[in-house]
Symmetry: C2
Subunit: 242 residues, 2 copies
């Protein structure tokens, strides 16, 4: 049973989630009535690749890593997601199985929703279908951009690009940001080994004058960072591609 | 005006194209009536990134490269497509602009179709919408896999993986295949510089015993190649992911 207050909170969360944006209140309630809030401790696996996909999830709080494992046991990090992101929803087009594994990398609160309802409603509600197209299209652009970066950017430029995306877009000087998760995870997210990440971070520091202490990053001028990082990319800052 | 014989041929091509598979003959005819066949010589640009997307295309014959250019003038190859592949169709979810450029890399014959008809019919025909979801979902899996490969496979393993995808899946020994396009293009397609490609090809040759002469590749045993290439991947051969 979903409590009234909890349901209101879930409906509030739907507003920030592109998949649910602009749906009628009736359709939103169909989803909210089947939603379950779950607390997932840091490190817990939410589902494994190839598992039967009964649920998809909205992140209310925390960080979730999507990954795959190779035959020689190495982990490929597909994505690291935060609040109001959805995951597991594409399984409805993948024969009902998850195409990657999911794990909480910080203590997280998730809203689970049945994939069966999503599949059913997408066939009934053209607005939901259109939202799904928009979500998939955005994801595609992000993946295309990641491939471009992995192919053409140096590892230092990739770190610079990641930092730029954390910067407030209306501020050009004296910026202080916090790295959202630890450096080992950040290295995997950017497709680097930890030792290569450290080397590349040092190069970035030398070339752009940014200062990093623990998770705190100080950037005197955004143009120092864009001049170095964005020349190996087909988009210009501020970019919406990734 | 589309001639009767040409229309029949286009309807035949639709059967091999997942986006059009299983549509009613009425819907297929709506597309076929607006189709135009065009011959594109090798090297010709079909459209540029950020152009307004009036048409999407089916490749009847030839090879088409999708790419982007970075600010320092380097080219990022997104994909190289062959017969019965579609491109430009995702523009209908990207505010009607192309997200990459397209160029014929061999003399090619294309069928152009208006994006306006696609957009209109997707809203009317749930089967077409479902096909589009399937096409996008397949593309997503391919892009996820490319990211995994770029992150975790060695350059030699990536070339091995590419060759495996050209092998007939029912043949395990004494395989002869042809590289579908030149090695410089192949290097870009796999995200490598030509000199890195040559070095990696030599390593692959040494490790797996394959023989390469011009575009001809001889593989004595498929397991030589899978043992080397697939251990850095989360899928096993034969895989459908890419």
């Amino acid at each position: 049973m979903v409590l009234w207050a909890e349901k209101e909170e879930i409906l509030g969360l739907f507003k920030e989630t592109p998949l649910f944006s602009g749906l009628t209140i009736e359709t939103q309630k169909i989803f909210a009535n089947t939603a379950v809030t779950c607390s997932i401790p840091k490190g817990q696996v939410i589902y494994m690749e190839e598992n039967h996909a009964d649920f998809f999830y909205i992140i209310k709080k925390g960080w979730v890593k999507l990954f795959r494992e190779t035959f020689d046991g190495t982990e490929a990090v597909i994505d690291i997601l935060s609040s109001s992101h959805i995951f597991g929803e594409f399984s409805i087009f993948d024969n009902g199985i998850y195409s990657s594994s999911a794990q909480a990398v910080e203590d997280s609160i998730l809203i689970s929703l049945p994939t069966s309802i999503l599949k059913e409603q997408i066939e009934k509600d053209p607005k939901l279908a259109f939202n799904m197209f928009a979500v998939m299209s955005r994801y595609q652009r992000q993946q295309d951009k990641k491939i471009e970066h992995l192919t053409l950017q140096t590892t230092s430029q990739r770190i610079g690009c990641f930092l730029l995306r954390l910067c407030p877009q209306n501020q050009k000087t004296d910026i202080v940001i916090q790295l959202p998760y630890d450096k080992i995870l950040l290295a995997s997210r950017l497709g680097m080994k930890p030792e290569s990440f450290s080397r590349s971070l040092n190069i970035l520091r030398d070339k752009t004058g940014i200062r990093i202490s623990g998770a705190r990053v100080e950037i005197d001028s955004i143009s120092q960072l864009t001049d170095f990082s964005c020349k190996g990319c087909s988009s210009s800052y501020p970019c919406e591609d990734i």
